[in-house]
Amino acid sequence: MVKVLLWGSLADLVGGEREVAVEAATLRELLDRLGEQFPGLRPELERGVSVSIDGRIYNDSWFTPIGPESEVVLLKRLQGG
């Protein structure tokens, strides 16, 4: 299981938890499982999120491996100038 830290306002959408756990070995699996297990997250996931895995921020790379001990943080999709 991978622990995923959600940002504050998402916690309300998954029943108040700031941290949820899903079975995932890649970024794609992670995003899929989050959407399946926590339907409240779907609108935000569809709008696009960034994901920090062990301190590095990923936007899209589905097959980025995630270890069971990886630190995974969901972030608002980033926009730069």
């Binding site: 830290l5 940002w7 504050g8 306002s9 998402l10 916690a11 309300d12 959408l13 409240g40 609108p43 935000e44 920090s52 062990d54 301190g55 590095r56 921020i57 990923y58 936007n59 899209d60 790379s61 980025t64 630190e71 943080v73 969901l74 972030l75 608002k76 999709r77 980033l78 926009q79 730069g80 100038g81």
Partner: protein
């Protein structure tokens, strides 16, 4: 892609030097072609009719008189586009209003005519029946329950019930227990800060030249930060195949985030389609101010607690950003970045995205971060000074480092914040004496930096020269950096490589030039493309030598036999291999396509001295020093240029720049006369100190540098002005009337 975690220090031959940029001569002789410099045979002038109201229902548009005017070849309204896909619906609405005009300057209709004079006349003949509606342009006003509402049904699930429909979304970041942390503080600062909307202020107005034929093929010449984005968005709006629309990026006269979206292009294509002629559209400066994409204005509450030793016990900020008439104010990023410089046990930020009757915000250099940082760094400074503590020491004591759990969640890898603070402390600027009415301020800043889709191709010509083809407009010297990287990797001289920014037909997808991504991402892809070419050249040499290709390595611009059993052959240079390429299997090239990930975050500390005229409130910048981590500076002159340019945009934001709306909801200062960007005589030299703490996610250690430099100046200058006057400034811009009033009333 796999990330290279090695932190070996590498000896570079070209990277880190300062060669002349390859597009230099074009740009100093006037030959470089920018957006408005292109012509096409039979070209028409396109012009836009804009709403004179801040908020109005469009009951009817009658274009018949305009269409009947001699010399008018096409008139376009929103109705010509029909339904468009959801993901481009807001952009479409911004390019041409549908049911409502949502801000002063909102495009309502467009004409194509044989001359600018005829086009102007045609615009006057378009009759628009407006039902003027109440408007709101201030973020706090727009959040009130009785505020005029712009859109129904746009509120997201994160917003508590009962709030104004203008409140689109709420975000929250952080960890720990704020109240418990504040209880441990010896002092808590609680203040509200406000920043005005500002514009990127690029000197080149938006411009494009569009051709579209009845069979759905299009060509577009446009000044943009991302021509692939332009292609994809226009294709979606117009129902074209992406492959049928070729977009060429002109030289770009500044962007800073403001050219990461569309304003004219779909309209120009539609006018071309309807008229059967090429259409050139160029915005006037007043159109740029009224109807392109300034950044958000903000209203921010901060509560920060500190012990008398200087330890921050808790930090809280609630940010309200208005991002114009559609969702998308950069408040999420602001909320994530405000406390990112600190290692805090208790930290929380809340952000609200609010719509108002203003032009839709576009990105502006580190979008969202400068405002949040202004508020938070001001409060930290006030606490530090209140305790008589050294503001740099307080920042060092609380500063983030490798292993810190950041305020937005992730744990940092190696970062350079403390290096910038140490460099600031050691710099002679820090201890230089100050005179009467003078003050010194410091502030830290952070930016994420991005990667993104990137494609490059590197071709070896028969004479051994190299063309690097990339897909990101060169906005500040990136051709030079890419040329350096290609030459570095291939082991050949800088002037043996030419870098070309290609059109959308020549390469795979490229993410927009934004997020400080280009030197990092395109550089990364260039290294990989060069590796591919080198591998092929080694293979060719192995064939000539009749040895195994694994027994050949590339060094100093030549293939060489490697290992004890490879045999003794003189090195074969790139030139020699290129000369016989067609005899050894054909042309040689390398290419690389990647979704670049692993961009390293970047930190800066800024230090500024100001003098405030106590009788007029005028602030003069006396001295300014930027300390920033670049990871690895590929072309240090252009890294310094990014530091200096960002700092000066920040100076403008801090002191004089602002969007001024009247009670009528109309913009009052749509020109460079009253939208006051810094001029040469306002400024001192901007000193720079480049720190190089390698980014573990890049083979050279490169970090993006373009955006971080605008994050600290707002707070650094506010802290300096507050030091000079003894009055805490909480509202930007710190224009003379505001500073004088603060001095006279004691804050």
């Amino acid at each position: 892609m796999a990330l290279d975690d090695s932190r070996k220090t590498r000896q570079f031959r070209i990277v880190g030097t300062r060669p002349d940029r390859p597009d230099g001569i074009d740009k100093v002789t006037g030959r470089a072609r920018f957006g408005a410099d292109m012509v096409a045979p039979g070209m028409l002038t396109g012009r836009i009719l804009r709403s004179p109201h801040a908020h109005a229902r469009i009951r009817r548009i009658d274009t018949s008189k305009a269409e009947a005017l001699a010399g008018v070849k096409a008139v376009v309204t929103r109705a010509d586009f029909g339904d468009v896909p959801d993901h481009v619906a807001d952009i479409m609405e911004n390019c041409l209003a549908g049911e409502k005009a949502l801000y002063d300057g909102h495009a309502v209709a467009a004409v194509a005519a044989i001359s600018p004079a005829v086009a102007r006349q045609a615009l006057r003949l378009i009759e628009v029946d407006y039902e003027v509606l109440p408007h709101v342009t201030d973020v706090d006003e727009a959040m009130k329950p009785d505020a005029p509402v712009l859109h129904e049904g746009r509120q997201q699930e994160t917003v508590p019930a009962g709030m104004s429909g203008n409140v689109i979304s709420r975000v929250e970041f952080g960890h720990g227990d704020i109240e418990a942390g504040l209880a441990k503080a010896d002092r808590v600062v609680e203040r509200t800060y406000r920043t005005a909307a500002v514009h990127q202020g690029y000197i080149e107005p938006h411009a494009c030249l569009a051709t579209m034929t009845a069979d759905g093929q299009g060509d577009l010449w446009v000044c943009t930060q991302g021509h692939y984005m332009v292609r994809n968005t226009c294709a979606a709006i117009l129902g074209l195949d992406q492959g049928q629309l070729r977009v060429t990026a002109s030289e770009i006269g500044g962007g800073f985030g403001g050219k990461t979206t569309l304003f004219l292009e779909p309209v120009a294509l539609m006018l071309s389609k309807k008229s059967g002629r090429p259409i050139k559209m160029v915005m006037s400066r007043s159109e740029v101010f009224r109807a392109s994409g300034p950044t958000a204005s903000s209203s921010i509450d901060v509560r920060i607690g500190m012990t008398r030793e200087g330890r921050i016990t808790a930090g809280f900020a609630e940010l309200r950003f208005q991002g114009g008439a559609w969702p998308g104010a950069p408040v999420g990023v602001g909320a994530m970045s405000g406390f990112a410089s600190y290692d805090l046990e208790n930290v929380k930020t809340v952000g609200w995205d609010v719509v108002t009757n203003r032009p839709k915000a576009a990105a502006y250099r580190a979008p969202g971060a400068p405002m949040a940082t202004f508020a938070i760094e001001s409060a930290i400074d006030e606490l530090a000074r209140g305790f008589g503590l050294d503001p740099l020491e307080v920042r060092l004591m609380n500063g983030a480092d490798e292993g810190t759990k950041s305020s937005y969640g992730p744990t940092y890898p190696a970062i350079g914040l403390k290096a910038t603070l140490e460099a600031a402390k050691a710099h002679p600027h820090w201890t230089a004496p100050l005179g009467k009415n003078q003050g010194r301020g410091v502030a830290c800043g952070f930016w994420f930096n991005f990667g993104g889709d990137t494609s490059v191709s590197l071709s070896i010509s028969p004479d051994g020269t190299v063309t690097l083809t990339e897909g990101n407009p060169d906005i500040g010297g990136s051709r030079a950096a890419m040329t350096m990287i290609a030459a570095e990797e291939l082991g050949i001289p800088y002037d043996q490589v030419r870098t070309v920014v290609a059109d959308t037909g020549s390469l795979g997808q490229n993410e927009v030039t934004h997020g400080s991504r280009v030197t990092f991402s395109v550089g990364l892809a260039t290294i990989k493309a060069a590796e591919a070419a080198k591998k092929e050249m080694c293979r060719r040499a192995a064939m000539v030598w009749g040895i195994d290709e694994d027994a050949v390595e590339w060094e100093d611009g030549a293939a060489r036999p490697a290992g004890p059993n490879a045999g003794k052959f003189p090195p074969m240079t790139l030139k020699e291999i290129a000369a016989i390429a067609s005899k050894t299997g054909g042309p040689i090239a390398g290419h690389h396509e990647v979704m670049a990930e692993g961009a390293g975050v970047s930190f800066a500390t800024h230090m500024v001295d100001v003098e405030v005229d106590p009788e007029t409130g005028a602030t003069k910048i006396l001295r300014y020093t930027v300390f920033q981590d670049a990871g690895k500076a590929v072309h240090p002159s252009y890294v310094e240029g990014q530091f200096q340019g960002g700092a000066v945009q920040g100076i403008g934001w801090a002191l004089n720049e602002e969007y001024i709306y009247g009670k009528d909801g109309l913009l009052q200062n749509a020109g460079f006369l009253d939208y006051r960007i810094p001029v040469a005589s306002d400024l001192p030299m901007i000193d720079t100190v480049i720190l190089e703490i390698p980014n573990p996610g890049h083979p050279y250690g490169v970090r993006g540098v373009g955006e971080t430099s605008i994050v600290p100046p707002l707070a650094a200058i506010a802290n300096a002005v507050s030091a000079a006057t003894g009055v805490r400034m909480t509202q930007l811009p710190m224009s003379p009337p505001r500073v004088l009033a603060a001095i006279q009333t004691g804050g």
